[in-house]
Symmetry: C2
Subunit: 180 residues, 2 copies
């Protein structure tokens, strides 16, 4: 798919067909992720691919438990029904103080790569800036060592919903020239 079409067409998908995504396709997406720019070219990523039902259910429970009041409309129950989940982690020793940035950039390449292959995804966080409990629980569930930080969670599946059209802000209000 063309780049602009991919960026403009991608939408968050939270309902998936009960259809498997083969490892070969997941590896294509993770190969795209490895081409993401990273601080000092540290390429600090590690990806955990989850298909086991017990683990998906556990991730949904953890996300729901720490879901803030204002985000209750976005419950994580659907995570249980995603055919695959990718947890994007980074090696803290290769991130040059930019764990979040490195992981978030790679995450977007996975989201775009998935959409261009007809696969639905939604961006979810695996950590909170002000509360380490969520990442600690995810670390425990996935046996992630302390030197590795889980940052995002990406459920993937062929879409079983068609999102409402999204209204994008007028660009004029989003730009200033030379200063704010």
């Amino acid at each position: 798919m063309k780049l602009d079409e991919t960026i403009k067409g991608r939408r968050s998908i939270r309902k998936y067909q009960d259809v498997e995504i083969p490892d070969s396709v997941i590896e294509e997406l993770l190969d795209l992720a490895l081409h993401t720019p990273s601080s000092m070219n540290g390429q600090p990523w590690h990806f955990i691919v989850v298909r086991r039902q017990e683990t998906k259910t556990k991730l949904a429970e953890i996300k729901n438990r720490y879901c803030p009041v204002e985000k209750q409309m976005y419950r994580a129950d659907f995570l249980k029904d995603a055919p695959v989940i990718i947890v994007v982690c980074v090696d803290k020793n290769k991130s040059y103080d930019r764990e979040v940035e490195n992981a978030v950039l790679a995450t977007l390449n996975i989201l775009l790569g998935a959409f261009s292959r007809g696969i639905g995804t939604v961006y979810m966080s695996a950590y909170k800036p002000d509360d380490s409990r969520i990442s600690e629980e995810i670390r425990k569930a996935l046996r992630i060592p302390m030197s590795i930080a889980p940052i995002t969670i990406i459920p993937l599946g062929y879409p079983d919903e068609t999102p409402e059209p999204k209204t994008i802000r007028d660009i004029k209000g989003a730009i200033s020239y030379e200063s704010y």
Copy 2:
């Protein structure tokens, strides 16, 4: 350009031809940025487009002043010679505690959109997690109010260098299945 080709071909560019990039092209890139997913669909971005020499020089000075020892090989002097710089900011009141993530995601769409149009860029940070001075100085230089956080800086220009080929990690070492 095709998505995969864009993601795999993009490289960091720090040397630019002395050729202007018209506002219409910058607006195409920022339109792509506005299609980025955001927390609670807050679309919290604000983009400052800088072409004034004095401001570009000021940004280079600020970046150099706070450049950590281990990143001294990546000095910011070249910022002075970029035809255009985009500073990506977010409105803290529309970011739902995810200022960095929202800005970083939009930044990658700008980097990809630029590459697909033959324009070189490089990802730079406008803040440090543990030192607020750099973002305060940038805020002052660009008259950014306190409710708005500058997060990234993107110099743009038609490339005047051809980077060395980049070695990407072997994918097998970057994936685990079911747990780390």
